[in-house]
Symmetry: C2
Subunit: 288 residues, 2 copies
């Protein structure tokens, strides 16, 4: 059974009546619609939304099923729903227009201007952006992901192939950042956890010396670090505030002495850390 | 040294004169601009683009530096560049308008309609979408990522906590999909590699039986599998076409006999696999 032709959406939970229902509808994955929709909605302070995604809505029949679910979700609410759509097929869009929702077509305002600029019409193929596979690009992502997975422990590894090496104390955010860089940009990111020995020596670990220009430091607020470690290893020495303070202070001193660029991850999302690391090290890769 | 205030972009390589230069400019990470820009540009068949990203352009001074680099990159080319911008600050946008480029403001067409619908003005805070950190949401991502990392080998693990379990032969795409699901949707995805023993038995591995409703199968074209394995373990038995054909046929028979939903990853991007798995299993999570 190939699952290619279904529309699934969870029923919304109980929710306050002042919440806005927002539906992301796409004939592909819905990633583009949700990305721009999220960016738009976060610009409205205090707005509370309940979002649902309908992916792979590429026929009028599937659009009618989505419409039925949208109407059921809206129920008796008097508030107009918002649809953020990246649907390309006009016949699908025509169905969605029967919803009475505010519909934001994320491609609509741009296609005409691009067609005029490029002197060609768009091809109405659906799901191109996140559906097509370029084998070479795919391999770059997978190889970078494997690299991150096998260079995640600071073990006896070869850093020659690394595009960059993240350095920091345990749980400062290195691993998810490395995986994000690999999956999204095909960047080979290794990860060196500073050990107690490293931090007592206050010297750059010898194995990192030849790769100084690839180093980027991550630091974190000690209290936030304590929370993260406490969840991972409750009531261990590792999770005491004293230990967290000591390690963070030593790591920051090391970064300063060795002039390693550093970013605090405390209030920084994985996307933002990844983006800032690449900017700082001058690594320019296309987002997958 | 905190690296918070620089604009870096690689110089474009040698490129054909019929390529379009496309610049993604953002006062945040640039992820939103690049995501929608990529979706738009892939709708134009045969279009060749050379893309560059300027992140964290949040002051007129940084915009002037970006402008200088854009002009240098365009050089003598007679072709008008395209700027895809998610910049919120009007003073920054005013600088970019001096470029002579076609500027697509990815928020512009939607903000007015949303303001009217919601009865409130947007807050002009920059970089909200990918910059802010909600600690609870962050922890969900990190915990899911740790879960994927520790449940990646089919070892003696507890599947009770899994939202889903991907099943397939070695190198069919399970690991990157699990990591993507964790990083982007906070979904706890485990990963069960079908072994020779499993495939000879033709029974559902006993440890998976209690979790039947969480299972999703990945399959792949045997020739494509051979290529991937050949790169990983050159000239091994593991990488022969005979072995790949045998394993894939046995896995597909197992999925069919056990009525496990299955998707071929051969021509499917990681994003699309992740999206289809969630749709099929009825898992509804917000994209981070």
């Amino acid at each position: 059974m190939m699952i290619d032709d279904m529309v699934t959406v969870a029923t919304p939970g109980d929710s306050a009546t002042d919440e806005r229902l927002v539906f992301y509808i796409s004939d592909g994955t819905g990633i583009t619609a949700e990305t721009i929709g999220h960016s738009l909605l976060t610009q409205f302070a205090g707005l509370r939304v309940n979002t649902q995604r309908f992916s792979f809505v590429d026929t009028p029949d599937k659009a009618r099923e989505a419409l039925r679910q949208i109407k059921a979700a809206c129920g008796e609410r008097g508030v107009r729903p918002i649809i953020i759509s990246s649907v390309v097929e006009e016949a699908v869009t025509a169905v969605l227009e029967q919803s009475g929702a505010l519909i934001l077509d994320v491609f609509g305002p741009f296609i005409g201007r691009l067609e005029a600029e490029l002197g060609q019409q768009r091809a109405r193929h659906v799901g191109h952006a996140h559906g097509m596979v370029d084998f070479a690009a795919y391999e770059a992502r997978i190889n970078a992901t494997n690299y991150a997975l096998t260079h995640d422990d600071g073990g006896n590894v070869n850093y020659n192939e690394a595009d960059l090496i993240l350095v920091g104390v345990s749980r400062s955010g290195k691993t998810p950042t490395c995986l994000y860089l690999a999956l999204h940009y095909g960047v080979r990111a290794a990860n060196y956890p500073l050990t107690d020995d490293d931090l007592e020596n206050m010297d750059l670990p010898r194995r990192l010396v030849p790769f100084r220009r690839k180093l980027y430091g991550l630091t974190i607020d000690p209290e936030r670090l304590r929370q993260i470690r406490q969840e991972r290893k409750p009531d261990s020495r590792y999770a005491t505030i004293a230990q967290c303070r000591k390690e963070v202070a030593a790591a920051e001193s090391l970064f300063k002495a060795e002039r390693i660029p550093v970013l605090s991850t405390t209030h920084t999302s994985i996307e933002e850390i990844a983006s800032k690391v690449m900017s700082a090290l001058g690594i320019q890769r296309q987002l997958f």
